[in-house]
């Protein structure tokens, strides 16, 4: 066998081994590398009560309620599998809206609710001009 072909096979084997090892390590990180828990995750695996975590999902339509003090809000996070009621006191980001994504930082309560200390807005991969979005809202084709 020519030396060049030998080196090629060696390089390809090495590449396959490295990629395999990388993917194996990454798949092992599946849960640890997630940025937040979805409501469906905690419904399945139980509440992580012992530490501060993040809860992410969609803000349910018509679920935002404001308390009389003006800074406390209540809303429901959903992911299509389960829902979690969230309480937050503070300033919400501009993109915090109903039927839009949110990531709440805080703690789960034993009753299954979530008290947030900070809110991040998460938007999806769709970008469009306002007129188009308005039309889609009316026809119902823009689903969260």
């Amino acid at each position: 066998m020519k030396a060049k072909n030998q080196r090629l096979i060696l390089a390809l084997l090495g590449l396959a081994a490295v990629v395999g090892a990388g993917l194996l390590a990454v798949s092992g990180l599946k849960q640890e590398a997630s940025f937040f828990y979805a409501p469906g995750d905690v419904a399945q695996s139980g509440l992580p009560l012992d530490r501060a975590v993040r809860l992410g999902g969609m803000v349910q339509e018509k679920s935002i309620r404001h308390d009389a003090d003006g800074i406390t809000i209540h809303f429901i996070v959903e992911d299509g599998k389960a829902t979690v009621p969230v309480t937050f006191k503070g300033i919400v980001p501009d993109l915090f809206k109903e039927k839009s994504g949110v990531v709440a930082e805080g703690r789960f309560q034993p009753d299954g609710s979530f008290i947030a200390t900070n809110l991040l807005a998460k938007h999806d991969e769709r970008y469009m001009p306002p007129e188009l979005a308005g039309k889609m809202h009316k026809t119902g084709s823009l689903k969260p």
Binding site: A3, K4, R7, L8, A11, G14, L15, V18, V19, A21, G22, L23, V26, S27, K30, A33, S34, F35, F36, Y37, A38, G56, P93, D94, L95, F96, K97, S100, V103, L119, L120, A121, K122, H123, D124, E125, R126, Y127, M128, P129, P130, E131, L132, A133, G134
Partner: protein, 268 residues
């Protein structure tokens, strides 16, 4: 056993005077036709200004369109305009390492003398665009997500890419040969490529703050009114990247040639 073949551009350049008429380039496999720096330079000299000019023009058109002509996004408002520089920077940061890894394989397997020169020339602009991607993403995150930085999968893996570039540049500059890179450096270039699919899939495998991919094989979830300037900036920055790589390769080759000549003069 393997035939003695120059391991670097420097080695090849030293050999050129003796090769004229002797070993015919035509007799060598096609793959090595462009291994000759003289042939490469014949191609690179006219290509450099073309890439540079085309790149700058496309970037200017794309940025003007993205800042002035396109409408706002329905949810993000004007901040969506950062997309037009953030996406090309991300593409070049990741594409840069992919090209660097391919050059490393070519260097190790075929001993192509220009492969190391190319890989070295890619590293600095690749690191730069990775940094631009991280910084523009951070600036974009503040008004949209409400944070400058979070340790989510996409951002963390992109930061790892930047550190990989730093390590590669340090390794490349540690060797004696300032024009090419050592074999260990080339191996590092290949191993580091594992991070590229991880960055790409990070938003699919894991829950992340960063949104999923907008442009996939199935089409784009960016409305055409908002999408078109992105084509200009992606191609524009790619051409500029190519021009930067060509200029850095030419600088290295010229330096190697001069050093080789000085050494010959000293020996004579």
């Amino acid at each position: 056993m393997r035939v003695a073949r120059p391991k670097s551009a420097q080695g090849l350049l030293e050999e050129i005077p003796f090769r004229k008429g002797g070993l015919s380039l035509k007799a060598r496999p096609a793959m090595h036709a462009y291994a000759n720096p003289a042939r490469f330079l014949k191609l690179a000299r006219p290509l450099t200004p073309v890439c540079l000019g085309l790149g700058l023009i496309l970037i200017l058109i794309g940025c003007y369109a993205g800042l002035v002509l396109t409408p706002k996004d329905y949810l993000q408002g004007d901040s969506v305009r950062i997309l037009y520089i953030h996406v090309p920077a991300a593409w070049l940061g990741m594409g840069g390492w992919s090209a660097l890894a391919i050059a490393s394989i070519v260097q190790l397997v075929w001993r192509h003398p220009l492969a190391g020169v190319a890989a070295r020339a890619i590293a600095v602009p690749g690191a730069l665009f990775t940094a631009v991607c991280l910084v523009t993403g951070s600036i974009w995150g503040r008004p949209t997500w409400g944070t400058w930085w979070e340790w989510d999968g996409r951002m963390t893996s992109m930061l790892v890419l930047l550190f990989l570039y730093f390590a590669y540049i340090a390794l490349a500059n540690a060797g004696d040969d300032r024009t090419s890179v050592s074999r260990a450096t080339a191996i590092f270039g290949i191993v580091g490529a594992v991070n590229i699919p991880i960055i790409n899939r990070s938003v699919v495998w894991w829950n992340s703050l960063h949104q999923g991919p907008s442009i996939t094989l199935r089409g784009s979830t960016i409305a055409p009114e908002l999408l078109w300037p992105l084509g200009f900036t992606v191609f524009g920055f790619s051409f500029l990247f190519a021009a930067i790589v060509l200029m850095r390769m030419r600088a290295n080759l010229a330096e190697a040639k001069r050093e080789a000549r000085l050494r010959r003069l000293a020996a004579a």
